[in-house]
């Protein structure tokens, strides 16, 4: 996605949101949903639209772990590592996932921890995009990888 198209789509997102009180987070969410990340050089555009400084917008982006300023891997798997899932083997699942994806191309699939998807009675759980998976056994994880077409 070249920079010019970025600026356009960001501009339309901003204009649709900027008059809402506390509009920064909604704007950042929409940009990340549209482009997969928040381009650092769009921060000036966002800041001036909201009459903030670049530093303030940068401070907010770096505070929240959900936001990222680099393009994401093709797939991102967020595995819950909180206590409930730990009690049902989340750590083993993370190890398994890492081994399983070791062979995959760089930038193909990234495994990230997340702290609680609210599926604590059906642990261990993970989320791919907005798709949830519960009681994930290593086998179930492997099937999921195949369905997602990730070559390892």
């Amino acid at each position: 996605m070249n920079l010019a198209r970025h600026t356009e789509s960001i501009a339309s997102i901003i204009s649709s949101q900027q008059n809402r009180p506390g509009a920064l987070l909604p704007i950042l969410h929409d940009i990340q949903e549209a482009l997969g990340f928040i381009p650092p050089d769009s921060i000036q555009q966002i800041a001036s639209a909201l009459n903030l400084s670049r530093a303030e917008v940068h401070g907010v982006i770096t505070f929240y772990h959900h936001f990222r300023t680099t393009p994401p891997a093709r797939h991102t798997i967020e595995i819950c590592c909180a206590e409930a899932c730990q009690s049902m083997g989340a750590e083993r699942l993370v190890e398994h996932a890492k081994q399983r994806l070791a062979g995959s191309k760089h930038g193909e699939c990234e495994v990230k921890p997340v702290y609680c998807l609210g599926l604590c009675a059906t642990s261990p759980a993970l989320m791919v995009g907005e798709e949830l998976h519960a009681r994930v056994t290593p086998e179930k994880f492997d099937r999921l990888i195949e369905q997602m077409g990730i070559k390892t």
């Binding site: 505070f63 009690s87 998807l117």
Partner: protein, 514 residues
């Protein structure tokens, strides 16, 4: 005459293949040219049975679970649509002990109604509370909530009535109602289940709050890890607004209340009320100094009611059935019910709404059926990642705010995470510090530096390096964090750490080859 089949749309069910199941049922019914009305209800809360399919029969709703997409053919063959015999047939849902022994007030409709059907909601006493509130003076509404004994269900357990009263008595051109749906505690999903199972009750509760304190704008701050809750809430809000229960002229009473969902962005600390307000204002989720209290100077500096999903969702029934009815449940100063969430290494995990006073043992064994692994239960963390670990000796204490405070434990948001004897409490104590280091907002020193040092001290203890001195240092650090921190993040991380240390000392001394 068409057959009514219920397949839950709750995230837990979706995570276990409910969508594929629903598709298969419709396809199979079409193949057998049967007229079927499929309802995507909320979850009944018996999560080991999800996806739990129900069928409307003359005798009542018959439950089948856990159903996988492959079972559909066999179910139809067994005439399941009329409650026919089948291995998965669990009999009438209402008769299931797990449900029957609960006192479902806040969660009365969850699993029963179609979450997005206004008629379904109205048919189950929906908006009665609001209609009554519309006939009352704001102070009278606040009085009802105060008399009901309702306290903050997010974890602080602050009397909701008093909070509302402060906002009512603080004059301002603009006031806000903020719903804390960040639900970052591990082991908790009550907010999620309610938002996805009965969004209208939350909307009704917030509207009543608005009437009570004179607010015209409300926000629901939902964590980014709950995409489905956000979708369902937005649809419910749109439906409620179209039908006049929200918007410029609620039930042409002249009162206006607008409601908007806002998405969090991966910060546990934004569950703390002032950090949440900073986040809503589009800033870093840094904890504010108190005073001023949010009730006086909250969102955008204006008086703000900020309550948890369950607190707000419990208001309609209080207004509908009266304060005394709600107060009658519970014990001591813990009135009403709490939706406990049984999770972790448990055979029958799920949502159990009970009056205060029930014990941990009853929940874990009578409801939970013991550990999922079959091994003996060693420790139970109650109240999320900042809750204490309880050894067996404390499982008979009644679940009551004051009783738990006496144990140096907390009820918190009602999350119960069960660990069997394979759990190493030193590693869990280390995780408590690690979690605090990951989620600390970084403003105050005890938490910003303390959590990171806490992990390092725990590593030395686990590695057996001069354990005694390190344990003493750990206690000092916990004292600094407990008393020095600005908020519960750093202030309560010592609860799991010290409870693990005090109740399971053996885990802290054994030498593990590095």
């Amino acid at each position: 005459m068409s057959i009514k089949i219920f397949v839950p749309g709750d995230s837990a069910a979706l995570a276990l293949g409910a969508d594929a199941l629903a598709k298969n049922i419709l396809a199979e019914a079409a193949r057998r040219n049967m007229a079927v009305e499929l309802v995507r209800n909320g979850s009944r809360g018996m999560l080991w049975l999800e996806p739990l399919v129900e069928v409307q029969t003359a005798r009542g709703r018959v439950a089948f679970g856990p159903v996988s997409a492959e079972d559909v053919g066999a179910l139809f063959d067994a005439n399941f649509q009329n409650g026919g015999k089948h291995a998965l047939n669990l009999g009438l849902t209402e008769e299931l002990a797990y449900l029957k022994k609960q006192e479902r007030l806040t969660f009365a409709r969850v699993g029963i109604t179609d979450p997005l059907s206004l008629e379904d909601y109205l048919a189950h006493d929906g908006f009665q509370g609001l209609r009554k509130a519309l006939t009352m003076q704001p102070a009278a509404i606040v009085q009802q909530v105060t008399d009901s004994g309702l306290r903050g269900r997010g974890g602080a357990a602050f009397p909701t009535g008093i909070k509302w009263k402060t906002v009512l008595n603080t004059a301002a051109a603009q006031k806000y109602i903020v719903c804390n749906a960040d639900e970052g505690d591990s082991g908790t999903f009550a907010d999620r289940m309610l938002m996805e199972g009965d969004p209208f009750v939350l909307i009704e509760g917030m509207t009543i709050a608005a009437l009570a304190v004179g607010a015209t704008q409300g926000y629901i701050y939902v964590r980014s890890e709950y995409p489905h809750s956000i979708t369902i809430l937005n649809e419910a809000i749109a439906a409620a607004r179209k039908a006049g229960y929200l918007g410029p002229n609620i039930l042409n009473s002249g009162n206006s209340f607008e409601l908007e969902v806002r998405k969090g962005a991966g910060a546990y600390v934004c569950g703390e009320e002032t950090s949440l307000l900073e986040s809503l204002e589009g800033k870093r989720g840094i904890v504010r100094a108190k005073p001023p209290l949010p009730a006086i100077a909250g969102l955008f500096g204006k008086p703000t009611v900020i309550n948890n999903v369950i607190s707000l969702a419990s208001v309609p029934i209080i207004l509908d059935r009266g304060a005394a009815f709600y107060k009658d449940y519970g014990m001591g100063r813990s009135h009403g019910t709490l939706p406990f969430q049984l999770a972790g290494n448990i055979k029958q995990g799920g949502l159990i709404e009970k009056a205060f006073g029930v014990t941990l043992r009853e929940l874990m064994y009578d409801f939970g059926g013991g550990s999922a692994s079959g091994r003996p239960i060693k420790a139970v963390q109650v109240g999320g990642p900042l809750g204490a670990y309880l050894p067996e000796s404390q499982w008979d204490t009644p679940l009551d705010y004051e009783a738990y405070t006496a144990l140096w434990a907390v009820l918190g948001h009602g999350g119960i995470v069960v660990h069997d004897d394979s759990a190493d409490l030193a590693k869990l104590a280390r995780y408590a510090m690690k979690f605090c280091a990951i989620e600390s907002c970084g403003k105050c020193t005890p938490c910003r530096i303390g959590a990171t040092r806490g992990v390092e001290v725990m590593d030395k203890i686990i590695a057996g390096q001069d354990t005694e001195a390190q344990v003493e240092l750990l206690r000092d650090l916990c004292d600094t964090m407990l008393n020095g921190s600005m908020c519960a993040m750093g202030g309560m991380t010592p609860y799991p750490v010290l409870s693990a240390l005090n109740h399971f000392p053996r885990d802290f001394v054994k030498k593990i080859p590095v």
